[in-house]
């Protein structure tokens, strides 16, 4: 059971870190640019909220399979396929949780307004300097919220990880897919342990989110 939990935690942690890095420039662009088509980009980035995980999983599977154009690009590096691998799971989880990273960070950047960056410019900070010394620290609650949401959402995903991970024991099997298999094979006692653990985890996450909300609204 520990190996499944370890795979789950590792997947969620790697996904969270990579996704925060990836989502930050996108969220910044969405928060700051005033072009009419940015909402189209925002809508595309939000699709995973609405799409059934099976739809996402299906297309991701095609994308990560040996015959796909993406994998053809990776052939020279000795990569033939990422389907049913941990790396493939990370990619799938990142796509699946993208909106949960982009939206809180975007909201935090928007709440900041334009003034702090203008102030920074009048105080000789280059745009990059201002971003690092002002925008990132001012949006820290957005990052914290995004990190918690992405981590929790990745732990809670089932459809995508089953479709592109295949629940290979020791490799791509995570808590949610193990519970499914335990129930299938009528091992309810084992299933209870993991399921109850997830409930406790989910409660802790929601409580943390509420507390962040409250301290935030008290401060501003």
């Amino acid at each position: 059971m520990l190996d499944v939990i370890w795979t789950t935690v590792r997947l969620a942690a790697v996904t969270t870190i990579l996704l925060l890095v990836l989502a930050t420039p996108l969220a910044w662009w969405l928060a700051r640019r005033r072009t009419w088509w940015k909402e189209i980009v925002a809508a595309v980035a939000s699709l995973p909220i609405v799409l059934p995980p099976t739809v996402l999983g299906f297309y991701l599977l095609l994308l990560l399979a040996p015959q796909s154009p993406l994998m053809a690009l990776l052939h020279p590096f000795g990569v033939r396929t990422l389907a049913f691998t941990f790396e493939g799971l990370v990619i799938g989880s990142m796509v699946y949780s993208l909106p949960f990273a982009v939206q809180p960070i975007r909201a935090a950047f928007e709440a900041m307004g334009e003034r702090p960056m203008e102030v920074a410019a009048t105080l000789r900070a280059t745009p990059l300097d201002a971003f690092v010394s002002i925008a990132l620290p001012m949006a820290r609650r957005g990052f914290l919220g995004a990190a918690i949401l992405v981590f929790a959402h990745t732990v809670g995903e089932f459809g995508v990880v089953l479709m592109i991970g295949g629940s290979v024991p020791g490799k791509t099997e995570v808590v949610s897919t193990r519970i499914y298999q335990l129930v299938e094979s009528l091992q309810f006692g084992e299933a209870h342990k993991l399921a109850a653990g997830l409930i406790a985890f989910a409660f802790a996450v929601m409580l943390a989110m509420m507390l962040i909300e409250r301290t935030g609204s008290r401060r501003t």
């Binding site: 003034r115 009048t122 105080l123 010394s133």
Partner: protein, 245 residues
Amino acid sequence: MSGVAVRLKGRVGPVALNVAFEAPAVGITALTGPSGSGKTSLVRAIAGLLRLEGEVRVGGAVWQDGRTFVPTHRRALGYVFQEASLLPHLSVRENLIYGARRSGGVDPATLDETVALLRLEPLLARGVGALSGGERQRVALGRALLARPRLLLMDEPLSSLDAAAKAEILPYLESLHRSLALPVIYVSHARDEIDRLADRVLMLRDGHVEPAGRPDAEARLATLGGPERDRLALAALRAGLDPDA
């Protein structure tokens, strides 16, 4: 010309600005005019926060002309916004030295001097959240001064303050006025502020800037004597006005 020369043209919302003026290398030039006349836009354009066509030269340096547009962060300016706009995640001290650190480093003597001038000593270690309006604007002023500006822009720095806070901060501005060897453009439509601070007055109306200092300068000259009078007369001369006309 070692002062400030501005020639800017462009449309900002409903206002078509077409502005040309010069300001001497020392002293406060008040920029006044009816609300909605584009005073803030003009100051933002001088700072490079807003892009208009034209020229901006400060102390021999070209900030903007037909070919070049120096971005705001490379213009040696100090900018005091209408709201203090302190950086909320930094302490008073960190706010003060933010610009200094990025314009040649923090000079402890200058820092001490500015802190003393604006009486910021008891506030230094505090966060900015608990400051009063007057205190916040004093910190904003100190922060702008410590960034080694060649031009200080102040956009209605007192207008968001109540009467008490205003009365608290005006003496600081006056003592600053006496000690500062720097051109200052001071946007305001408050008569008392302009009377107490300005060496000359420009009026922005219908998108154009015109001198409006004559009656005020005359009145002030009549009540003043000694070096103060000489300084004002000099400023008026520099501005191309004849104080005795």
